[in-house]
């Protein structure tokens, strides 16, 4: 565990920070393993390691492997979604352009929205959570590791499915919101919308699986001593997000099944002539759709709350208020969905209620912003790339937040709704509010993921290109929207006067492309040539930095004990741990929900291919179901065996057996 420490960018020669720190003298030091520790390490690697080769890769249920795969897959979808955005910008760069026809354009903008929301933003946040939450709470593994693997495979199959269909000209073309009746049976013949509806089912299952694991890992697998008021804010953000996923996603999953049924077996959920209602779809979709935005945004807040203390050298200011703000936002986000429907006939009183809720949700976010500024004010900021992205977040996200407060107004929204003003708003919120912190988080945790640091110089270029690109691309869209440019149009007349600004917008998009390209280059280069990071290159305070970079398969040699909110800053020269977990099986420690006192030992299951096979069966079931209802029956039968095998006791592991006479036999 020797480390080239000079490479750590925070510790330039001559910097006062390299000197002894009176409060945390041992912040840069790593743990020296004794002979005994080395023995244990070897044993645990054998027990916790993924098997070798492709088969081992498929069987793996390790949260770190799955988490990394998840992040990379989501990032590939981000690139595809970006490619689609680029094609749209090319088409719109001048009036009456003929680069794309309406049919192609509509598929592309639908795929862009669908990809970014369902295949990138939510999965990437869940993936970050799945990788980091166990590390941050001091656990060796997520609560249900096989479910974790299953969730990833289902997500991958769903994503591959919709993209295969897209390349076969069967990409959905009715928008990521798929409003009926346009997406209904009469106006969308063929299988395009069915593909979309079923992709929803895939990604919902994956997100729900991820959310369940994150909640239970954070509730039950915390390190001893990590009582509720010591949980890192990122973990709080992921807990809140996961609960939002659990309560929001069923609405759209059910809605998309209604849509599929309308299209396949002649049900009438949305057929007004038989008593159905087009607005029912909008309610179901936005009851999910608005929390969805916060599902993407809240983990980003958690990332910021991780980066700010590390780079300002101060514990976050107002921790209890920050936690309350997250939880309040989570609750409130379920009371705003109707603000997407202000142009539909909704009773006046209802409108006022939803306006009030949509306006007031800005308060908890405002409080968090003030607390971060206070932390920065008290601290000593270091302008490494992660912090730059966070500062960029402030400048851009606040614009998006403020335009959000504006469009919470019913009156103003009736002008702005479904125009480029909204496009500007949502990209400011999602790119400024979620993607910038995500990039920051990526630079921040890259050393933990890979053991090497990303290049700082390129990181700064990456940031500035992105920052300028986002503003040049999206700020003019506010004006375009107010000047009457509606969303989702594939072309426009020169007389509208929208040409010059659209050209500028497309130019800005080029900067974003350059920035992302640079990021990819930096990623691959740093993977091989980056400076070796060591356990804790940034001198951060949370438990993930107490593991090796990248973490060993067993993650923590011993369950760590937490004595403060910033364990690595207060531990001194001795890292307190618990001993006594078994070394021959995948033993994990479960603690009580409130105080995190050790409660029992849970055996984490061994790697297995059954989740993968179950995911394949799930894929067969859902994909064939869009061609025939019998697909559901056949799929369920196919699914039965892998599911039973998945949960059936492992014959290699009979260490804890019941004798049959009311007593336990432990080997």
């Amino acid at each position: 565990m020797t480390v080239a420490r000079d490479a750590a960018p925070l510790r330039e020669p001559g910097d006062p920070m390299t000197g002894p720190d009176p409060v945390a003298p041992a912040i840069w030091e790593e743990v020296e393993l004794t002979e005994e520790d080395q023995e244990l390490r070897k044993k645990l690697i054998r027990v916790w390691g993924d098997g070798p080769g492709l088969w081992g890769w498929i069987r793996s249920t390790s949260h770190a492997s799955i988490g990394k795969r998840y992040v990379v897959t989501a990032f590939i979808f981000f690139l595809l979604g970006g490619l689609e955005a680029g094609m749209m910008r090319l088409q719109l760069s001048r009036p009456e352009n003929s680069f794309l026809g309406p049919d192609r354009y509509n598929q592309i903008f639908t795929m862009h929205g669908t990809t970014m929301m369902f295949l990138f933003a939510v999965p990437v946040m869940v993936a970050m959570g799945l990788y980091l939450v166990p590390l941050m709470v001091g656990a060796r593994e997520v609560a249900f590791s096989r479910l974790n693997a299953y969730g990833y495979w289902v997500y991958l199959i769903g994503g591959l499915f919709i993209y295969t269909q897209f390349f076969l000209n069967t990409g959905p073309d009715t928008g990521w919101f798929a409003y009926v009746p346009l997406s209904g049976p009469e106006f969308s013949p063929g299988k395009r919308v069915d593909t979309w509806a079923q992709m929803i089912t895939f990604t919902e299952i994956a997100a729900l699986a991820g959310a369940t694991e994150i909640v239970i890992t954070a509730f039950k697998h915390r390190a001893p001593g990590m009582s509720l008021n010591r949980i890192p804010l990122f973990v709080w953000a992921m807990i809140t997000t996961s609960f939002m996923i659990i309560f929001a996603m069923p609405a759209v999953a059910t809605g998309s099944q209604f849509l599929a049924a309308d299209r396949l077996i002649d049900t009438h959920f949305f057929n007004h002539a038989e008593g159905g209602d087009a607005l029912l779809w909008q309610h179901l979709f936005w009851f999910f759709g608005h929390p969805e935005v916060y599902i993407i945004f809240m983990p980003a807040l958690g990332i910021i709350s991780s980066i700010v203390p590390t780079f300002t050298r101060r514990p976050i200011f107002g921790y209890p208020v920050m936690v309350m703000a997250l939880i309040t936002t989570g609750f409130m986000s379920f009371g705003l969905w109707v603000h997407h429907m202000f142009a539909t006939p909704i009773p006046q009183l209802g409108q006022s209620f939803f306006t009030a809720a949509s306006t007031m949700i800005a308060i908890p976010t405002g409080v968090q912003i003030f607390c971060w500024i206070a932390t920065i004010w008290a601290g000593r900021p270091r302008f490494a790339t992660p912090l730059l992205f966070v500062l960029g977040f402030f400048f851009t996200f606040i614009i998006g937040g403020l335009s959000g407060v504006m469009i919470a107004s019913v009156a103003f929204d009736q002008q702005a709704h479904d125009t480029y003003f909204i496009v500007a708003h949502l990209h400011y919120v999602l790119l400024g509010g979620a993607v910038m912190p995500l990039f920051g988080g990526f630079y921040y945790w890259f050393p933990k993921f890979t053991g090497r640091l990303m290049n700082e110089r390129m990181g700064k270029w990456n940031f500035w290109l992105f920052f300028i690109g986002v503003n040049v691309t999206f700020f003019p869209m506010h004006i375009l929207g107010l000047e009457g440019m509606t969303r989702r149009i594939y072309t426009y007349l020169p007389e509208t006067g929208w040409g010059p600004l659209n050209a500028l917008v497309s130019g800005g998009a080029v900067l974003i492309v350059a920035s992302v390209a640079l990021f990819i280059f930096n990623f691959f280069r740093s993977l091989r040539h980056g400076a070796v990071a060591g356990d804790n290159p940034w001198g951060a305070d949370t438990l993930e930095w107490a593991t090796a970079s990248p973490p060993e398969p067993y993650v923590f040699l011993y369950p760590p004990v937490v004595q403060s909110r910033n364990p690595l800053w207060t531990e001194g020269r001795e890292r307190p741990v618990f001993t006594g977990l078994r070394t021959d099986i995948r033993d994990t420690l479960v603690t009580t929900t409130l105080d995190a006192t050790p409660d029992y030992r849970q055996n984490s299951p061994n790697p297995t291919a059954w989740p993968f096979i179950a995911a394949l069966a799930t894929g067969v079931m859902f994909i064939s179901a869009i061609f025939t209802a019998w697909g559901l029956v056949v799929g369920s039968v196919l699914l039965f065996f892998p599911l039973v095998k998945w949960g059936w006791p492992d014959r290699h592991d009979q260490s804890v057996r019941y004798s049959g006479r009311g007593e336990i036999v432990e080997k």
Partner: protein, 202 residues
């Protein structure tokens, strides 16, 4: 260099616990939230559609029949009593009682699945008749997936108890299975009231 300092030992902790100490209990709870939301969304859609009709059920659809669904509900209530005994037996680590109980529950589960097919018929409408039929069928259908899943899971547990390598943790799992069974039955009762009884007054 730092070093590890052992401040406690966990080797004496149990490896199987019951109730909300267990992570499977929490897993079951999360699934209950998810499935509960799904059924709630179906019920909400049913009520939302109500405003588009003068009469409920819309003529000429007759009122839903009560006989079979009511038998189903009574069977569920009985099954809850049986399941309660399974749960107690599991907590007492009484393997023979758990086995018998699970076998009875598996049979009850299959009976409920069979009755469920007649529940659909008792709606006296079809999914493609009108939006009333669609939402009513959807509510029953989504709950049926819970019922099928739970019946199959209980059967698999019964088989495991009869032939499989029964481990300690399965007592805890059987207890969580009981909890999910209560939920599955408990959430059916409002659906039953909504679909089969309320149309008489709505």
């Amino acid at each position: 260099m730092k070093r590890y300092k052992a401040v406690g030992d966990v080797s004496e902790l149990p490896s199987v616990v019951f109730g909300k100490r267990a992570i499977t209990w929490w897993g079951t709870l999360m699934f209950m939230f998810i499935e509960g939301m799904t059924v709630a969304v179906c019920a909400a859609s049913y009520l939302y559609i109500r405003k588009n009709f003068h009469d409920w059920p819309p003529p000429p659809t007759p009122l839903p029949s009560l006989l079979i669904p009511t038998i189903g509900v009574i069977t569920m209530l009985v099954s809850i009593v049986v399941m309660r005994r399974v749960q107690k037996a599991a907590e007492a680590l009484d393997k023979p009682a758990v086995t018998t109980g699970l076998v009875v529950m598996a049979l009850l589960g299959m009976a409920l699945v069979a009755l469920r097919f007649f529940d659909f018929r008792s709606l006296n409408t079809h999914w493609d008749t009108d939006a009333y039929g669609s939402t009513a069928w959807a509510s029953v259908a989504f709950h049926s997936t819970l019922l099928f899943f739970e019946a199959i899971e209980t059967t698999v547990f019964a088989v495991l108890a009869l032939v499989g390598p029964w481990e300690m943790k399965h007592f805890s799992d059987a207890e969580d299975n009981a909890m999910y069974w209560y939920f599955m039955c408990g959430i059916w009762i409002p659906v039953y009231v909504l679909l089969f009884i309320l149309p008489r007054w709505l």
